[in-house]
Amino acid sequence: MWLATWLSNLDRRWLFLVMGVLVLEPLLFPLSLPLRVTPPVHGFAAAIDSVPAGSTVLMSCDYDPASIPELVPMTRTAFRHLLSRRCKIVITCLWSGGPGLVDSVTSEVAREFPDRRYGVDWVNLGYKSGNEAVMVLMGQGIRNVFPRDFRGNAVATLPIMRSVRDYTSFPLLVNISAGYPGTKEWVQQVQARFHLPMVAGVTAVSAPEFYPYLQSHQLRGMLGGMAGAAEYEVARGEKGTASKGMDAQSLGHLFVALCIVVGNVVSFLQRRRS
């Protein structure tokens, strides 16, 4: 019983310390736990593979720096995947904090492809306020909604935009989203209305919300949180930051599960005693 009493009075800072050590240790000394690629991730990769080489894909990155660990790895891998298929990529952002981050990530990946040039093979159209209204307006013409790109260039002068008119110009929409506006709104306003095939990468906490869309094939594939990003990296044969982070997340989850079990055992013992 002394153990139960001791645990019930445990200073929560000890829990913080253990959690910190469990997250830090595998980042310094990776455990390299095996990852299994799940069907939604297979669907995501297959949808990009099915895009005809050389076509122009719309990629909407709707997140801000708070979601870097989960969503930047998927942005990186998806962008690399598309470039490796010689696709052109038009990037938009409906979160005001996102375009700078997305520009850094895409520029970093694009350096791996020295023959690809900004404005010819990819463009970052930046942020536009208006949420769902922007999505619907893009269906009437992309250039009307985004007259200038993130770097201040007139969009009409960019070679990549000459073949882009509206959603009919794209064979696929890749949406990486952290919340509102994001995947749900793209499905409701664009996929359902303009019948644009779509895949999504979302945060782990919001992933359950999109399983109905996955089952109805409104989403061709989905990456859920860091686990989804890591599985995508494995499916692509890459070793990125998500795969490295999965060991830390594994131990973190294990510790939270342990906290739930031990907390309830302690509570049960105390209730029985009283």
Partner: protein, 220 residues
């Protein structure tokens, strides 16, 4: 008239936008596009109003020396400083910002991004503490929830599969969590989505028909 005119405008535009979804004729689609473009501009003005409101609330708090007024000074100085630097950078770089090497980009990379990440990362510590102290199984329903949560939490990460690799495939945590996500979770989520959609439609109709008037404000 103060209430009737806004109610009429709301009803007429609401019905027109519903019509535009079904009628692709340019007599309908062109005005509908114009109204949607107006919505984008109005939302952009919301940022200005939001910023002004943040300033007003915090300046009032500072002048009254409310609790935590020192933090409010930090907020106001940061807000005004970031806006001023952003405008200066925008003017210098032909409206494009944050460009590499500019103060705006430095603020974005070294303050905004790092502080956002830090706030989010703190969740891991508080979740552990909450799991230990607050997640109590006192009923059968709570027990079901806890079991499902443990299976999904461990099944979503590699350690779950490693720990149950000796079991048959259908009993492994990875397979069980996929089943929970695909079947019971999906069924309940779909019910919630359909319920919420019906609620949104009902509220929309109430606004268009002038039954729901709370958006007009309380006073006549």
């Amino acid at each position: 008239m103060k209430r009737e005119v806004p109610l009429f405008i709301t009803g007429a535009i609401g019905l027109f936008m519903i019509l535009s979804f079904f009628v692709p004729h340019h007599w309908v689609s062109v005005p509908a596009d114009f109204l949607q473009a107006c919505a984008v501009i109005v939302v952009a003005f919301g940022y200005v109003l939001g910023g002004a409101n943040v300033l007003r609330v915090n300046l009032e708090g500072i002048s009254r020396r409310e609790r935590g007024w020192g933090y409010k000074i930090v907020l106001v100085v940061s807000l005004l400083g970031t806006v001023a630097i952003g405008i200066a950078d925008g003017l210098r770089h032909n409206g494009s910002f944050p460009v590499e090497g500019t103060p705006s980009k430095w603020i974005y990379d070294n303050l905004y991004a790092t502080m956002s990440g830090t706030m989010f990362a703190l969740l891991a510590f508080f979740i552990a503490s909450a799991a230990f102290r607050a997640f109590r199984i006192r009923t059968f329903d709570a027990g079901l929830l806890a079991v499902a949560a443990l299976i999904v939490m461990l099944g979503r990460v590699p350690v779950g599969d490693v720990a149950t690799s000796w079991l048959p495939e259908w009993l492994r945590l990875g397979t069980l969590q996929q089943w929970i996500m695909d079947v019971p979770q999906n069924a309940s989520k779909r019910a919630i989505l359909i319920g919420a959609a019906l609620g949104v439609m009902a509220t929309g109709l109430r606004v268009i028909l002038g039954i729901e008037r709370s958006y007009l404000g309380g006073e006549d």
